[in-house]
């Protein structure tokens, strides 16, 4: 009661009191959620690296080199000694000294302290297409010397650079979530909106369908649907088919959120007031009801994205989702299915770490948005 009274409204020299738009109020509350803010920054960085993946990846994610199977990560040394013994800033990595155990035919890698490969920022590289259409010849980080690999996170079974693959995989893994949620949001808004606004028999039928869909165990459902995809489809088609499959189940949750908001808002006095102003149904929905829960929807969607990402990863991990040559975190984790490879090359688990960071960040961000979503609640 007190905080609503005029006395409590914060006074400032900036703008006249009470002219802050609802979104400004949401932002004002969101700003105080430190964890969500940090998560937002992390996610922004992740999505930026997904966009500029080719530029950030030091190597070609598909290039393999049998000499460097399961090569361990190199560490970057920032300072080097000049000939006269003084320290200078000249980043470099050490090369590998490879010894082959003749009995077990197993390669063991050791750091060769004599070989130093200097690193260069924005150095020249093989020509490539950024985002598939911008020709570029420079990368963020390159190594000098032909044929020497830069394996900052080590190499996998075929000697491919884990870091490059991780960065390229970000693009598919994070966009599957977005595309999937956009699809489920579209279905959820329409179905949930009709169900909540219209009510009655339609509501009853829609709710029973949702309950049925939600009672089907998801992994077998996905497995069945994914197994039905023709094997000879091109990778991009498979990718879209997978997002559609994921959103077929994902929309139910969003539809429920939307329906709940509609039911709650339908009886609000200000909606009744607009109806008595003579507003049409469409105007009621789009001018008066939608703005009231758009922030809720954003929050619900941002909480649904991690579920999508996890689902893609599980499917791909099981070999039912995306397949090589597409690179996603789930596909990368297939490499880590084998206990022995994990034992010899624990760096294969880096995609799992990236995923945990991404999913946690999304959850925190979603929490923050949800808390800030309704600036008029007391």
């Amino acid at each position: 009661m007190l905080t609503r009274s005029g006395d409590a409204a914060p006074r400032g020299p900036r703008r006249p009191t009470g002219t802050e738009s609802p979104w400004a109020l949401v932002w004002g509350r969101f700003r105080h959620h430190r964890l969500a803010l940090v998560s937002g920054v992390i996610l922004a960085l992740l999505y930026l690296s997904a966009i500029f993946a080719e530029f950030l990846a030091p190597g070609d994610p598909q290039a393999y080199n049998a000499r460097y199977t399961f090569a361990p990560p190199q560490s970057i040394h920032l300072l080097d000694r000049d000939e006269d013994g003084s320290l200078v800033f000249r980043p470099y990595v050490h090369g590998y000294a490879v010894t082959v155990d003749p009995e077990a035919m197993r390669r063991t890698f050791a750091i060769d302290p004599d070989k130093k490969h200097p690193l260069r920022l924005l150095g020249r590289s093989e020509p490539y297409l950024l985002m598939g259409f911008i020709p570029m010849q420079r990368k963020l980080l390159t190594i000098e010397g032909q044929g020497t690999p830069l394996l900052l996170l080590g190499a996998d079974r075929l000697g491919r650079d884990v870091l490059s693959r991780l960065i390229i995989g970000t693009r598919v893994s994070l966009s599957v979530g977005l595309v999937g949620v956009v699809l489920s949001l579209a279905i959820g808004l329409v179905v949930g909106g009709l169900s909540g606004y219209h009510g009655g028999l339609l509501d009853l039928v829609v709710q029973r369908v949702i309950e049925f869909l939600r009672s089907v165990p998801t992994i077998p459902l996905w497995m069945g649907l994914a197994a039905a995809l023709p094997r000879d489809w091109p990778p991009l088609t498979i990718y879209f088919a997978i997002t559609v499959i994921l959103s077929l189940v994902g929309w139910t949750e969003l539809a429920r959120v939307v329906r709940g908001r509609f039911l709650a808002l339908k009886t609000e006095d200000y909606v009744t007031a607009a109806r008595l102003d003579g507003a049409s149904d469409l105007s009621l929905v789009f001018r008066h009801m939608m703005p009231a829960f758009s922030s809720h929807i954003i929050a619900a969607a941002s909480l649904a994205i991690p579920a999508m990402i996890l689902a893609e990863t599980s499917l791909s991990f099981l070999g039912l989702g995306l397949q090589a040559p597409i690179i996603s975190w789930g596909v990368l984790l297939q490499e880590a299915q084998n206990l022995r490879s994990v034992a010899t090359a624990p760096w294969l688990l880096w995609p799992a770490a990236a995923m945990i960071v991404a999913v946690l960040a999304m959850n925190f961000l979603g929490d923050g948005l949800r808390d800030a979503a309704d600036p008029y609640a007391t």
Binding site: M1, L2, T3, R4, S5, G6, D7, A8, A9, P10, G12, P16, T17, G18, T19, E20, S21, P22, G28, H32, E268, D269, Y270, T272, A273, A274, R275, L276, D277, G278, A279, S280, S283, H288, P291, A292, Y376
Partner: protein, 582 residues
């Protein structure tokens, strides 16, 4: 029991000294209470009165230190547990409640046992998951060593004391099965369970009807005498003060601006603010300046609205396995006429069907039978309650509604200009370029400045919001306005302002108004004619003055008797044997 008239002062059971309570805001702090000092003597009633936002509730809550997220930042609250009526200041030790840990065991031992509190909204103070009996028993056993049987017996006894009918069966009811007044009684029973020295009542009757309010107030008074409690009553209603108080403290802006014995304050208020509060309460005891609003064509003119035989029942089913159809008859054969330019008041308790009537007339609820013929501007008749009643949307421009809750009725995401312009836009009542000017003119009509147009509703107080709601209703130059409790969410002084504004608009624009209220004073102030509703039926209809001076139906008389008058002389709740100053 009133304060003893003798020279020996009663012991001070509670002394608040320089209390300061602050609330953290996004930017800065809100100083809700700034240096309040009050004393409460054993056995007396102190009323703390003020408008909302004056800090009266926070002061009361500070006593038990339940002000989260706020904090008591200064001052003392001395509590003397051994103070009794008639003695000098108790010689036992006084405890400073502010110095105790708000969550610590010492303050918990005082809360409920020594100082009990009842709240404005009893539904939210009671747990919906437990019967009232379980909750009273828990309160009893929390502070007293009793086994379950004894505690239950004690709970039944308490319910009997707060005048529950059949307390033996009522004890097993859930809060939602009880009416608002019964819930408040249950809460009082809980508060009394340990025979506290002090009862703090924070707007205990604001959520209740007048008749229930009178019952609860007289109950508090009789229990106070029985137990010798001191009562600290927080209210915004000067009528309640006049009924209840021995002494009054008037608060404004977090400070006590005036305090003293109730008669002195009412007879010779020192502060202008106090005078305003008293006048606002007295205003509703008479009729407003509605002489100019007599129907233009006299009673002979054809009615603008003619309601015949409206019936409406809300049907549902109860029971899980054995389904039973239930029906609540909200309207039973309601018939009345409204003449052009007339204001008709509809009075009744909550649940009497008056809001349902308003909503049926506006096509929100569908009626089972009956019709409401409305004469449109072009002379044609249309049945508002028919299925196709509002098929022609332009009808919405001729009949407008003013809502009860000014906080809920304005879309928080639209600016004031968008809100008021909405009906103009929909009915294309003015050029797109002229909307700004028209909204400004409407805002000036309701005494708001035109430069508030681009603000959002959250920047306005309750009274200002109600003005915006009125401006929206007037935007289409309506011919009939249905006002559903337009003032019941507002403080006393605002109430009169809003009613005067409506009166002025009505006289100027020649509107017909149906005013719905639970407060017979509001209706008498505003309307030439009134209709009294009870359980869905119109029990009496006629000229306001006639009904108020000589009610024919006993229910009307009951309603009239329950209205608190703003003067201690008129107070009828005091026992005749407690010799008052008059």
């Amino acid at each position: 029991m009133t304060a003893p008239p003798g020279p020996a002062p009663a012991a001070e059971v509670l002394a608040i000294v320089d209390l300061e309570t602050h609330f953290p805001l996004n930017r800065g702090t809100l100083k809700a209470v700034e240096g309040v000092s009050l004393t409460l003597r054993a056995g007396e009633t102190l009323c703390v009165v003020g408008e909302s936002g004056s800090g009266k509730s926070v002061t009361a809550r500070s006593i038990l230190n339940i002000v989260k997220p706020g904090r008591i930042v200064g001052g003392h609250i001395w509590f003397r547990p051994d103070a009794v009526i008639g003695a000098g200041n108790g010689n036992g030790p006084a405890i400073d409640l502010c110095a105790l840990d708000p969550d610590g065991p010492r303050l918990r031992a005082i809360r409920g046992a020594r100082i009990a509190m009842i709240f404005q909204e009893p539904m939210s103070a009671l747990s919906p998951m437990h019967t009232i009996g379980q909750q009273i028993i828990e309160a009893v056993r929390l502070h007293r060593a009793m086994d379950k049987q004894e505690a239950r017996a004690r709970a039944i006894e308490l319910l009997r004391q707060v005048q529950f009918r059949e307390p033996e069966t009522a004890i097993d009811r859930y809060p939602f099965q009880l009416s608002g007044g019964m819930r408040q009684r249950a809460l009082i029973a809980m508060a009394l369970s340990c025979q506290p020295q002090v009862l703090i009542a924070d707007e205990p009757t604001t959520a209740l009807d007048v008749t229930t309010q009178a019952e609860i107030l007289s109950l508090i008074r009789s229990l106070q005498q029985r137990y010798g409690m001191a009562v600290l009553l927080v209210t915004h209603d000067m009528g309640v003060v006049a009924e209840m108080a021995d002494r009054v403290a008037v608060m404004q802006g977090g400070r006590v601006i005036e305090h003293g014995p109730v008669d002195a304050v009412f007879r010779a208020p020192r502060e202008a603010h106090t005078r305003r509060l008293i006048e606002a309460a007295r205003l509703l005891e008479r009729r407003g300046d509605r002489a100019a609003g007599t129907p233009a064509g006299g009673p002979g003119q054809a009615p603008i609205l003619s309601v015949r035989g409206l019936c409406l029942a809300f049907r549902g089913t109860t029971g899980f396995l054995r389904r039973r159809a239930t029906a609540v008859h909200a309207l039973r054969d309601v018939s009345f006429d409204v003449a052009p330019g007339e204001a008709l008041g509809i009075v009744g308790e909550s649940g009497s069907g008056k809001t349902t009537l308003a909503r049926a007339l506006l096509g929100i609820h569908r009626v089972d039978a009956g019709q409401a013929r409305f004469r449109r501007a072009d002379g044609s008749l249309v049945d508002l309650c028919a299925r196709q009643g509002y098929a022609d949307r332009s009808l919405y421009a001729e009949i407008r509604m003013i809502f009860q809750d000014p906080f809920a009725a304005l879309n928080p995401r639209q600016t004031v200009e968008q809100i008021i312009a909405e009906p103009l836009r929909i009915h294309r009542l003015c050029q797109r370029s002229g909307i700004g000017d028209r909204v400004a003119a409407l805002l000036r009509d309701v005494d708001l400045s035109a430069d508030v147009m681009d603000r959002y509703p959250h920047a306005f107080s309750g009274g200002q919001r109600q003005r915006i709601g009125i401006a929206r209703a007037m935007a289409t130059n309506p011919r009939l306005v249905v006002a559903d409790e337009p003032t019941s969410a507002l403080d006393g002084s605002l109430r009169a302002q809003i009613l005067d504004l409506l009166l002025e608009l009505r006289n100027r624009l020649g509107l017909s108004i149906i005013l719905i209220s639970h407060d017979i004073g509001v209706v008498r102030y505003f309307c030439e004619r009134m209709a009294v509703m009870r359980q869905g039926e119109l029990v009496e209809i006629g000229a306001s003055d006639q009904i108020c001076d000589a009610p024919r139906h006993p229910y009307t008389a009951e309603l009239l008797a329950a209205v608190p008058r703003a003067g201690p002389r008129h107070a009828r709740l005091r026992d005749p044997d407690a010799a008052g100053p008059d």
